[in-house]
Amino acid sequence: MVPLRSIEACFQGAIPAVIATCSADGEPNITHLSQVYLIDDEHVGVSNQFFTKTANNLADNPVASILVVEPSGCESYQLLVHYERRDTDGPLYHEARHSVEAIAALTGMAGVFEVRAVDVFRVLNCARVPNELRPDP
């Protein structure tokens, strides 16, 4: 597993991440995230701006896959995660609100991007996605 601390740049919100989930009856879903937050060596937080489908999927099936991107070279990392809890207050929640409001203001999406909570996930695995420059996994 790639240590999360070694890819801290992926959690600065420079390039949007994506989250893939799956419903209880096996239907996959994928959507963009404004930012993923590094909480500690084993946990990440995700600002909850989700469509209902993603939230419903996580309620029924807590395993998800998150793709994050390191901004200087656009290398991608895939996080296999397990949903643990939803924070609607606290330092991380307020950091996420301010961060997403800033992103929304910069992108003309003020009032559209709205953080309702921060969802906290335990990271089960983190792997670099092979690319043309570094083809080996």
Partner: protein, 168 residues
């Protein structure tokens, strides 16, 4: 494919000409699949060609996306999100993989190159230019043919999640 009789019972939708042009432009595209234990997997998509009838998509996924390809071989279900990185228009298409050809044709490689150039042109408009984006480029691509079964508007805002009905 073992899943085909179950998944293919669903009615196909068709992509209209305007949406086809969007899907085949330089929009960012990502796909989700899941294995039989409901563990999801995400990967980037590197080109999309809409069939003339509008009912199927031929998409390109990285040859190294082995979990995606394994999931498609066992469950067949896939969701692909297409997003204009400049204006955030976003559409999610869900369906079933009906062909896994296993290797790219010359036409697939041409599609990959034209898509890559169009995507990087779009990304440059939001401040990321080559070679900073080089890490995105896959080792190679393989095609997947999808039967279109559901379409959703996923553009951030009040219309997010709305079903798109498709061409009658």
């Amino acid at each position: 494919m073992p899943y085909a009789s179950e998944v293919l019972e669903r009615e196909s939708l068709t992509v209209d000409d305007e949406l086809a042009a969007f899907l085949q432009s330089g929009v960012a595209a990502l796909a989700a699949t899941a294995d039989a234990d409901l563990v999801p997997d995400g990967t980037r998509v590197w080109g999309c060609a809409v069939a003339p009838a509008g009912d199927r998509l031929r998409i390109l996924v990285p040859v190294t996306a082995t979990q995606t390809l394994a999931n498609l071989a066992t469950t067949g279900r896939i969701a692909v999100c297409f997003t204009d990185v400049v204006v955030y228009r976003s559409v999610q298409i869900k369906g079933a993989a009906v062909e896994l050809p296993g290797r790219a044709l010359p036409s697939d490689l041409a599609l990959f190159k034209s898509y890559r150039d169009a995507l990087f042109t779009s990304i440059a408009k939001v401040g990321l230019e080559y070679p900073a984006v080089a890490g995105f480029i896959p080792v190679g691509v393989v095609p997947v043919v999808i039967d279109v079964q559901q379409m959703f508007d996923q553009t951030p805002g009040p219309g997010a999640g709305r079903h798109l009905s498709g061409r009658p």
